[in-house]
Point group: C2
Chain length 235, copies 2
């Protein structure tokens, strides 16, 4: 049976920027599982009614429907145990920290830098929804929240442990990437797809890791459409 | 042969506050290894000449001399494989991140809050050394660096991923503490021994974890001398 991933898209059906969906796309590539992606937009709640869920990623794997990126990684390890993503025991417990590091430390710092680029990349029909939900979350307008200088300074500090870690190994998970790399790298794909902002200087060990991640799995990340590839879309 | 750990002390021989030494003391307790600790002061470089090293922790285990807290944890797993601390494979790679999270994210935030308390806890003979080395590192005087309000705000943000993680399990490493817990908790022991500052509100999941860590290994952390236990020492 076909394997299908519902994947957030923006102004172009092929502009796929969700950090949560990127985690899953890398995880599927890691397991060597061919998957068809289906573009989905924020306001298309109806299309996910079958999953009893209102956001992506949603993975349909034969008869199984799995939601939430972390639960999908767990599902993949359970169902396809070869090439562990999260692993078991201490490895799995420690992996979870990277989910929170990505979502609560890196994402807010990146968001202050790329929020207006993100709005620009979102499909026009989704922009009111995007603005309303995010302004409610931030407690201020997108324009007030937007502050690349503060965001970049915050990101620079937030990357310190990653920087130290990546001086000692090519990937967070050692000699090859696994779940901790995908959990964190989803954020960098998010920023890369919607923005041309340089988040990390090219002398940074994190930069070299980003390059390695872009090359991994036959260039899955590097081949992804960026908003700058769309004629007239980036401003 | 006796197992000996050289352990930093302050104004009292029993005031032991080094976060790096605490990692090792918890790791030794985790492995069930009886160890005698020997008080050591910053300026007593001569006492460590045998180890060809100038700071603690230094573990002497029979014929083996091991320095640096992380290397000691590795040594313990290699030599006493039961009850893994760092573990192997993905677990070990991920553990290393917690070392950097503790040292580069949590420690600077805590330090801004407790630096003057720390100076006060240091042995009088060590204070000039402590001030000189730290002022050189910070690029300003201890008094200028000291800023509890900034430090606490920074710590609050820095604890976000830990907070998320600890809502889902009792310890960083799951149902029982292991290396990731000890790597991070060393910092909290450091602050606890030298200061009465409340770093974490008691409604915080991190607070409940601190309490569990203090109770672990028969109250190893809770029984440790604090500067507030020494008559007239805390000001």
């Amino acid at each position: 049976m076909a394997r299908v991933l519902y994947d957030l898209c923006g102004i172009d059906d092929d502009l796929r920027f969700s950090p949560f969906c990127w985690r899953v796309k890398f995880a599927l590539a890691h397991k060597g599982l061919d998957t068809q992606t289906r573009p989905w937009r924020f306001t298309d709640k109806q299309a996910l009614a079958f999953a009893n869920h209102d956001k992506v990623p949603v993975l349909v794997d034969g008869d199984e429907v799995v939601t939430e990126s972390y639960d999908i990684l767990r599902y993949l390890d359970r169902t396809y145990p070869e090439s562990p993503l999260l692993g078991e025991g201490l490895a799995a417990d420690r992996a979870r920290f990277f989910k929170y590091y990505a979502e609560r430390t890196l994402a807010p710092a990146m968001l202050r830098t790329i929020i207006m680029d993100l709005l620009n990349a979102v499909h026009p029909d989704d922009r009111d929804y995007f603005r309303e939900t995010r302004e409610k979350r931030f407690g201020r307008t997108l324009e007030e929240f937007h502050s690349p200088s503060k965001g970049l300074a915050q990101l620079d500090a937030a990357l310190e442990p990653l920087r130290g870690h990546l001086k000692e190994s090519d990937f967070i998970d050692g000699e090859a990437p696994a779940a901790a790399d995908y959990l964190v790298f989803g954020n960098f794909m998010w920023a890369r797809c919607v923005s041309s902002a340089d988040l990390v200087s090219n002398a940074d060990p994190v930069y070299a890791w980003i390059e390695r991640m872009l090359d991994s799995h036959d260039g899955l990340g590097r081949q992804a459409m960026r908003v700058t590839d769309i004629n007239g879309a980036y401003r």
